[in-house]
Amino acid sequence: MATVPISPDSSPGVVLELLYSLRVKDAMTKSVVTASPSADLRSVQILMRDHAITGIPITEEGRLLGIVSIGDIIGALDSGTMDRQASTVMTNSVVSLDEEMPLSFAVTYFDRYKYGRFPVIDTTGRLAGIITASDILRRLLIALNEEIGRMEQRIAGRQAASEGPVPAMELSFGTTPLDFSRAGNISTRFKKALVERSCPPLVARKAAIASYELELNQVIHSTGGIMRMRIFDDTIEITAQDEGPGIPDVDRAMQEGYSTANEWVRSLGFGAGMGLPNVKRVADGFSISSEMGKGTSVKAVITWGKN
């Protein structure tokens, strides 16, 4: 069966970043041809033929019950059982993907299970789409095109010696409010990118602390935002920009021990009121601006050379 000829372990950095930043929902086909469990195999076969597809999810009120593959149809043609209902021959224990998973998961699944397609389930457990190896390759090709476009612009910018330094590398990822299962992942990726670039351990540690605190602030307090790291020749710049709600009193937020986090968040060990002060302490340059209803933007700069 089709696999994705890209390794989620040992591809070039740009490809890895795309595999981890793109989600399954970004690549999947959203309009899924489905059949009901009571549909007979003949009508399922007609659906396959008319849509030129080789697998049909069987659903009931949006919930995925199973999948009928072209192999099942061939089996039924062989044994003359095309009048049977889809529910009697479908594969029940279907391996599915979660739409929020990084695309790297999908690549791993194709390698591991050797299926031609995986149904994709949304956060409420309903069928949201279907993904094939060619969906992944198409999405990656689009993303790589965009990335190469940016790299060309960067090179052109460097040649034109335009104003402002051009970062040697730029990474950015979005945060999800109150998603503590993934909180810290962005900072971990930032740190790994720095270590791969032979960043001195103390500098990488400072960048990791600044990034982690800002990332957790977005997860705990904001309605979602973007974490960005830019690596320049002599500095690392970490910026956190969110879309709200904004900090009413920035001076108080900068005081050690001041926190507006709720009890639940505190019980997880967060909300000690040390986040922003920690960032400021490790950063060689620090700025914050916040507007109620608009959002908060924080920038921390760490110098490569300083110890």
């Binding site: 503590f180 810290g184 971990t188 540690r205 060990g269 986040g275 920690n278």
Partner: protein, 110 residues
């Protein structure tokens, strides 16, 4: 003293044992993750009751080499997975943070 010696000293059972054994530098006992971020050092043992995967992220970022979960708190599966991914030794003990800290201090400095 190495990470592999730690379970015997703090009466802990290993819940995630895929890690590269190395010298223990010191320890840091705290349940506030920002505090750990600010003060724990590389090669420290993190002594805490925060048994969830965010502790792994923090330990990984500061370069802590092992985590001791105190008071016999149960360790969820996703925390064990995260620890395995990061190569951080994860163990659980019925002792509290004070007792674990005391024994580690004695073993390292006593």
């Amino acid at each position: 003293m190495h990470i592999k010696d730690l379970p015997g000293i703090v009466e802990a059972v290993i819940v995630q044992g895929v890690y590269e054994d190395g010298e223990i530098g010191g320890g840091y006992a705290s349940d506030l993750l920002s505090d750990v971020m600010a003060h724990a050092k590389a090669k420290d043992v993190l002594i805490t009751i925060q048994a969830h995967r965010n502790s792994i992220a923090v330990a990984g970022l500061v370069g802590a080499s092992a985590i001791v979960i105190c008071n016999g708190r149960s360790v969820p599966e996703d925390m064990i997975e995260a620890a395995r991914d990061e190569g951080i030794a994860l163990m659980r003990t019925d002792l509290n943070q004070y007792e674990v800290s005391g024994r580690l201090w004695k073993a390292l400095r006593g």
